[in-house]
Amino acid sequence: MGVRLVHITKVFPDPHHPGKEVVAVRDVSIDVKEGEFVTFLGPSGCGKTTTLRIISGFEYPTEGEVWISGKRVNDDPPNKRDTSMVFQSYAIFPHLSVAQNIGFGLELKGLPKETIRAETERIMEVMNLTNLANRRPDQLSGGQQQRVALARAIVNKPSVLLFDEPLSNLDAKLREQMRLEIRRIQKTFGITSIYVTHDQGEAMTVSDRIVVMNEGKVMQIGTPFEIYSRPANRFVADFIGRVNFFEGSVTGRSEQGISVRFSNGIEREVGSCSTDFHPGERVLVVVRPESLKLYSKDSTLAGSNYNGRYEGSTVQSRSNSGQPFLEGKIDKVVYLGSVCEYEIDAGLEKPVLAVTHNPIEEGFFQPGELVGMDFNAVSAHALPLS
């Protein structure tokens, strides 16, 4: 049953230009299956929070329909909808204790005191809040407040849990911990969840599916894998992770997908396409930095830090002559411990981004080194060049 949005559009009066209007959400449709965890991801102002508030009932859609658990809820106010929200600011009632906060929703339902106490205690145990039951909100740390907010939402056993950037006020370490915690709790209770964030790491970790939004429109709906490796358009490819774009034109179909001749005249196979392409069409090929294989072209420097493991052998060179797809000079090196990131000057408009792994064993390149670059068909994805 879950949540169904049908052609939702939301128009606000423009606060800066009286009389004009701003379209915050434009024709958004999605089916969230029961028990599924779906994340709305996008830059600020993309309409994701407005969409969430339309589901919770704090905003009414200008057009379209909202269905929750098979019921059309367009005209129901938030208190009549079977949703519970975890707010960005947590919105813990400052005048109530932790236990009173958590029991608030149950109390409103008019449940007997005993039931409220039992339910509250049970959820506090699951959330490790039992010893904080009588604390005032101002005596809680950020992470504790976050857990209270989540407990307060879950205890009502809503059919849909809504999260409005719930981790943005926590520090980085706690954020990573909490997103696993949220996912664990959500799986434990099996509650359909809709989550809003601008943090792609968060979206990738918690979601079954991700809805990428921009300027009020849905750019792509898909699993984290699809969103990352098979972006539907340039915006998604660019917004999620780091990316290299290479322009080329389709020369024909091939065993692995299509063949593309790039602007430097070299031809490669590209494993996947966002749509059907015909020979002659111009395409934009997406290659993630970690999919770009590097090998040294500069034998004089090979001794310094480079162990030589990238010698042609590791790169599956499919090109007839063994010529690399691109050559360039290492411009910048950022050593991050587990990986090493490079900006490579290959004479293109923008520097080429590449990443090598396990630098302790594999070694890494130095600025000024000449490298060859190539990629496997499976990790390249073609988009229309619009």
């Binding site: 106010p77 929200m85 608030f104 005032r136």
Partner: protein, 574 residues
């Protein structure tokens, strides 16, 4: 008046008709909201706008219909016209001088490390919690015909304290604390890191003050000046005692026209002359100056070590503040002494006879004052909270109108509203003259801005998500308000109550038109004692009045501390 309301409606019209329609539909969909909005709007129109409209109408009324006859007569009368200019001049001087002294205090107490800062603060607040005409009374007792300083100390007979000099002194002393409170808030909101940064960039202390602190305070100073202008224009007690016939003041003239000459039209015309500059200043303050306020963007709050004031400058500032504190103490101790002195100026031996008088003959007025303030203050506070809630949190047609009208009382001089109430409720359909009701209604609607201001301030601090969370968890509008919003507003409600109570207890300018033999007020009693030269009884009344106010403040604070002590001010910091 007409122009401003017209402008408001104009603004509403600019909003697209679709939003208007949606707001009306929302209102229909929420019967409780509809009823409350309707009630508030009706009562605001009836008890604020209607009396004001009658003042305007009466001053334009001529035997033939409407015209400018009365105004032309006022303009022809040099005496009346002089009153207008005197009022304007006095208000401007008080605004400038009072803000200057207020800034001196605020700066010294917030930016230096001089001793007695707490004590100075308490003493500077005294004029705010006491009747505004105590300054004038005390000045007469010090510098008047039998004045302690002029006559007893210096042996001067008939020192000319009445008129411009004495009044300016009284007004500055009475109103500078308002500027002090405003400017202290402004200065404290300027992050000391900004001053640190300016100094770090090589600015001298004086440059830091001139180029950072002062420019950031300018909007606050402008706002304080406008508030002082409004207060001085409206003030009635000090000029009634001190202005004298050589230096007429508009509010007193309007009062005398009506109570002395029973000339309602001329009184109304003078009231209108009083109203226009006040409302103009109010609109400037609300729609222009308040929008210029700087919001200091801060990173992590830092406890800066106070060092931006040169030690020598610091002691000069301290000396100046000490002088002002000395004057305040002189004024209030004089009243205290006067209450116990046999015959002020001639026989200063101590006696309790003035207090016997207050608790005997005058006790009726004490009880009446307490009854009226005690009933009107909480009602006014509740109404203020409701209006604040509606204005901050709800969407409905007429919202801006509601906000403007309810805050208008702040700008309307008491004299004007007093005359308005006589015009409005002296004849059918609503005859209220001489009743408790007219005093209560007047006080309730006069002091709602206090409740609204503290209500709006606290609501702006309560994250709307907290109310949304309650709704999301299944609470309807009523439950959300009762279970979440109201409990969070209660502390602000009580602290708003303190100010509303003080103002109600010390009110005179409007009330003096509305008291009767059945219902009288201490302030009015004090005035009539002063007029008949019984300074001892007036002082004793004043001492009791201030004592009652202090007790009330203490009780309200104790309740707050007892009920909310655990959360205290922290309640809002989440």
């Amino acid at each position: 008046m007409g122009f401003s309301i017209g402008a408001l409606f104009g603004e509403e019209c600019m909003v697209s008709s679709s939003r208007w329609g949606r707001e009306v539909r929302l209102l229909w969909g929420d019967p409780l909201l509809f009823i409350v909005v309707l009630f508030v709007l009706t009562s605001l129109i009836l008890f604020i706008l209607y009396p004001l409209a009658l003042v305007v109408a009466t001053s334009f009324k001529t035997p033939e219909g409407f015209g400018l006859t009365i105004f032309l007569e006022v303009l022809k009368s040099r005496y009346l016209l002089q009153g207008f200019w005197n009022s304007i001049m006095m208000s401007i001087l008080t605004a400038v001088g009072g803000s200057l002294i207020g800034f001196l205090f605020a700066y010294t107490l917030s930016r230096t490390e001089v001793p007695f800062k707490k004590l100075f603060h308490v003493i500077a607040i005294i004029p705010v919690v006491s009747p505004p005409f105590i300054g004038a009374m005390s000045i007469i007792m010090l510098f008047g015909n039998n004045g302690l300083i002029t006559y007893s100390l210096l042996g001067i007979n008939n020192y000319p304290i009445y008129g411009f000099r004495g009044l300016l002194f009284a007004q500055l002393l009475t109103f500078f604390p308002i500027a002090y409170i405003t400017l202290r808030g402004v200065l404290e909101s300027i992050s000391p890191t900004l001053e640190d940064a300016a100094m770090d960039l090589g600015g001298s202390r004086w440059q830091v003050f001139r180029k950072v602190t002062l420019p950031l305070s300018i909007p606050g100073i402008a706002s304080a000046m406008l508030v002082l202008f409004i207060e001085t224009m409206a003030d009635f007690g000090n000029p009634l005692i001190l202005a004298g016939s050589q230096f007429p003041i508009l509010s007193v003239q309007a009062y005398l026209q009506i109570t002395g000459m029973f000339d309602l039209p001329t009184g109304s015309a003078l009231a209108l002359l009083l109203l226009v500059p006040s409302v103009t200043a109010y609109i400037l303050q609300k729609y222009w100056v308040s929008r210029k306020q700087y919001i200091t963007i801060t990173g992590k709050p830092t406890a800066s070590v106070i060092k931006s004031v040169h030690p020598v400058a610091q002691w000069v500032l301290f000396g100046l503040c000490l002088f002002v504190v000395f004057l305040i103490l002189l004024v209030y101790l004089t009243i205290l002494w006067g209450a116990f002195a046999n015959v002020w100026g001639t026989d200063n031996s101590l006696t309790l006879k003035h207090f016997q008088y207050v608790f005997g003959v005058g006790f009726r007025a004490v009880l009446d004052t307490l009854t009226i303030s005690g009933i009107s203050t909480p009602l006014s506070g509740i109404l203020g909270m409701v209006i604040a809630f509606l204005v901050v949190r709800k969407q409905f047609p007429g919202k801006q109108f509601m906000e403007f009208t309810s805050m208008l009382s702040f700008a309307v001089p008491g004299t004007v509203i007093g005359i308005g109430y006589i015009l409005a409720f002296n004849s059918p359909p609503l005859v209220l003259t001489g009743t408790l009701a007219i005093l209560l209604l007047n006080f309730i609607y006069r002091y709602i801005p206090v409740g609204i201001q503290s209500g709006i301030a606290i609501l702006r601090q309560i994250d709307p998500a907290i109310e949304e969370a309650a709704i999301d968890l299944g609470a309807d509008a009523k439950k959300t308000f009762l279970r979440v919003t109201l409990p969070l507003m209660v502390p602000a409600f009580f602290s708003g109550l303190i100010f509303a109570f003080v103002r109600a207890m010390t009110a005179i300018s409007a009330a003096i038109f509305l008291v009767s033999s059945h219902w009288n007020l201490m302030t009015v009693q004090i005035m009539s004692q002063v007029e008949s030269g019984r300074l001892g009884a007036a002082s004793a009344f004043s001492v009791i009045l201030v004592a009652l106010i202090l007790v009330a403040i203490f009780v309200i604070r104790a309740i707050l501390l007892y009920r909310y002590g655990r959360m205290g001010g922290k309640l809002l910091n989440i």
